[in-house]
Amino acid sequence: MEFAFTPEQEALRSEVRQFIAENVTPEIVAELEDTGIRRRGPKTREMYKGIAERGWIGISWPKEYGGQAGSRIDQYIVEEEFARVGITVGGAGSGAPAILAAGTEEQKQEFLPGIIRGEISFALGFTEPQAGADLAGLQCRAVRDGDEYVINGQKMYTTAAHYATHIYLMARTDPDAPRHRGISIFLIPMDTPGITVRPLWTIQNNPPAPLGTTYGDARTNETFFENVRVPASCMLGEENQGWYVGAMGLNLDRVGASRYLISIQRDEDIVNWVKDNEIEGVAMREDPTMRDRLADMWIEGQVCRLMTLRSMSIVENDGVFTYEGSAEKVFAPEHGVRTTETIAQMLGPYGQLLNGSEDAVEDGVFAHNLMGAFQSGINHGSVQVMRDQVARRGLGMPRV
């Protein structure tokens, strides 16, 4: 066991923090808060180049695709520091892990360096109106026609589809095969004719959530495919193997820095807030009940941290998750919800004030979290489905 990072890794962390202190300007924060542009804002793009130049994106990827062939842990450190200021660098949701694992040489060349430079980003097209937790029931069809596939169907909650360059799409290629064996994955440019993106506004829509909110997105989308023709070379992995390719990417999506921060950032926020703030001269830091609850949250936050580090340790050792990724995806989101609701009862009526309101605490982030935190227990594997996986894969209990 070794719970510390190496001195080199600590130095890397300091370097990243310094970069952030110097480069994440109020203008960039404003761009990041604008969910319409996010990474595509001009200042953000400029800064993103600086991140890429330092070799901080895709650190663990092979050199031939623009990576550093470095350690997953280094990459984790960089991702964590950026995620703390609301910036996603590579990692979760990028589609890259699956491309690395299952892509052809051309696909790796086509996508990975572009992801590193911040020029390519993916929306995830998994969920459908009738296929959420039970994703294998998806119906979006891709039919082979010569060297092309023709795609028809609808995807739901395609976050980022309005600014991503590509979509990472799961579609059914064999309707007659057993559910899991008739699915394929496609990597498709969003500007392909026949794709329509419509906004779905979330409960964070108005007022906009401050940066750092858990699920503060004002907007996600539904994406329609009408006779969308794509070359067969868009397929990732083999035909009808998409379920397994997708599962690889998703597993890595459930662990890592941004997932960790979603669950614990408010532990740190509230403790640091309580240290420095009082409400009309009343110091919560002196109230024994509050102290007990704060310590309780903190300890659970440490468990989230350690479960994340355990997942990272497994990945770094080229191990396989049996249940550990799912365990983390049960404990951490539910912890995030417990903390969010505890903070509400600590702040009382101040806790309900949203961004921009008179007397809002920290721009209303705690109030906005109350609209978003529970969402982390639903997507990327709901806590019910994750518990199923712990029980079945981890503990060998039977499928019902």
Partner: protein
């Protein structure tokens, strides 16, 4: 950074598990509950021959010289097997001597402890059982080259089995800097000690001691008179970390029994393991136990790395108390009525885990300590940072 046990650590842990599976059936724990001595001499001797008792004591005194983490891994397995031996109390006291004792004390105690020729215990808590210096009221006075002790020590493990106990006594009035505590080695057969056996939920061996003019040589003092609180606190922290290891081992075994039971018990035409509500409860039990184990390992690792580790110990104990209790209670739930029956073994684990969660600090005490470290010193905090304990 790799929070998984490495190969050597796993080897030791697995060897301990195999040995205990062969040598320590639940019937042994059950039998010892009725045994006056309170432990299995036979099992103790077999364990001694494996060198476990000295594993983390210095090589210069016949120990294995390995980090305390190894001891923790073995105690985790002892918890799993609910091994009825006075290992935890001996290890806690021996490490106090090893970390704080004089050369003579180490020389006379550690080689015997490492061989398993010496059973020890620690005695700090009193009628006010809180783990803080000002709760220590048991008085001692220096008289020539002796220390004379009068007062009460409570919840002392394995007293009648032990030959020596490491005791914290008050030699000066309480003060803000926790001076006035003296840590001292007391032979359990000293004149003036009256033992009253307690009947515990775990049905293991705990006693209340009344000391009346108990005289020990000043050379038994660990460190300096009046300056014993830091060593006492260190001993308590190590004892607590090791107890967490023991609890998580026992709770995990208890959870596994529920999972196995669920796979075999049929209701409504199918094994109850097929019901999602049972599956999810089992998933939670494993998640909770994993959390307790990770916190415990981190505390042990910090101890071995020479970092402040008191806050990590308190984190581990508070979480272990609550979540391992929830685990064994859930296991009872899954077992239905049979878990309530004396002849069925499950209660052997349930009662121990439950009792152990109440020892060496409640969840409230440990969380209060975490809160002090977080809130009562300046500076921004972040999960995973090194935090200095406060009080």
């Amino acid at each position: 950074m790799n929070v998984l046990p490495n190969e050597e650590e796993l080897m030791v842990k697995n060897a301990a598990r195999e040995f205990l599976e062969a040598e320590c059936p639940p019937s042994l724990a059950r039998a010892i509950e009725q045994d006056e001595r309170g432990y299995s001499v036979e099992l103790w001797e077999k364990m001694a021959s494996l060198g476990w008792f000295g594993i983390s004591l210095p090589e210069s005194h016949g120990g294995g010289g390995l980090p305390v983490t190894y001891l923790g891994l073995i105690l985790e397995e002892c918890g799993r097997a609910i091994a009825p031996v006075p290992f935890h109390s001996t290890a806690t006291a021996a490490l106090a001597v090893s970390r704080h004792g004089s050369a003579e004390q180490q020389q006379s105690i550690l080689p015997r402890a490492a061989r398993g020729d010496l059973i020890m215990t620690w005695a700090v808590q009193e009628q006010d059982p809180r783990l803080r210096a000002d709760a220590i009221q048991c008085r001692a006075e220096v008289d020539g080259d002796s220390l004379v002790i009068s007062g009460i020590k409570h919840f002392v493990d394995n007293f009648s089995a032990a030959e020596l106990m490491v005791t914290a006594v008050r030699t000066a009035a309480p003060s803000d800097d926790n001076a006035g505590i003296t840590l001292v080695i007391v032979p359990t057969n000293s004149a003036g000690i009256t033992e009253t056996r307690l009947t515990t939920l775990a049905k293991d061996s705990q006693s209340k001691l009344t000391m009346d003019g108990v005289r020990v040589p000043l050379s038994n003092v660990i460190g300096e008179v009046n300056q014993g609180w830091p060593a006492t606190s260190d001993m308590l922290d190590i004892g607590t970390a090791l107890l967490c290891a023991q609890i998580t081992g026992a709770a995990r075994k208890d959870a596994e029994m529920a999972i196995d039971y669920a796979k075999n018990r049929v209701a409504f035409g199918r094994p109850i393991a097929g019901f999602q509500s049972i599956q999810h409860l089992c998933a939670d039990m494993i998640v909770w136990t994993d959390g307790a184990q990770l916190l415990t390992y981190e505390a042990l690792w910090k101890l071995d790395s020479g970092l402040p580790f008191g806050v990590e110990v308190s984190q581990a104990k508070a979480f272990t108390n609550d979540k391992c209790q929830a685990t064994v209670r859930s296991s009872q739930q899954i077992h239905g009525g049979i878990g309530f029956m004396m002849e069925f073994d499950l209660h052997l684990w349930y009662r121990r885990v439950t009792a152990w969660t109440m020892r060496l600090g409640t969840s409230f005490e440990h969380r209060a300590r975490v809160a002090r470290a977080l809130l009562d010193q300046p500076g921004e905090v972040r999960l995973g940072m090194n935090l200095q304990p406060v009080g």
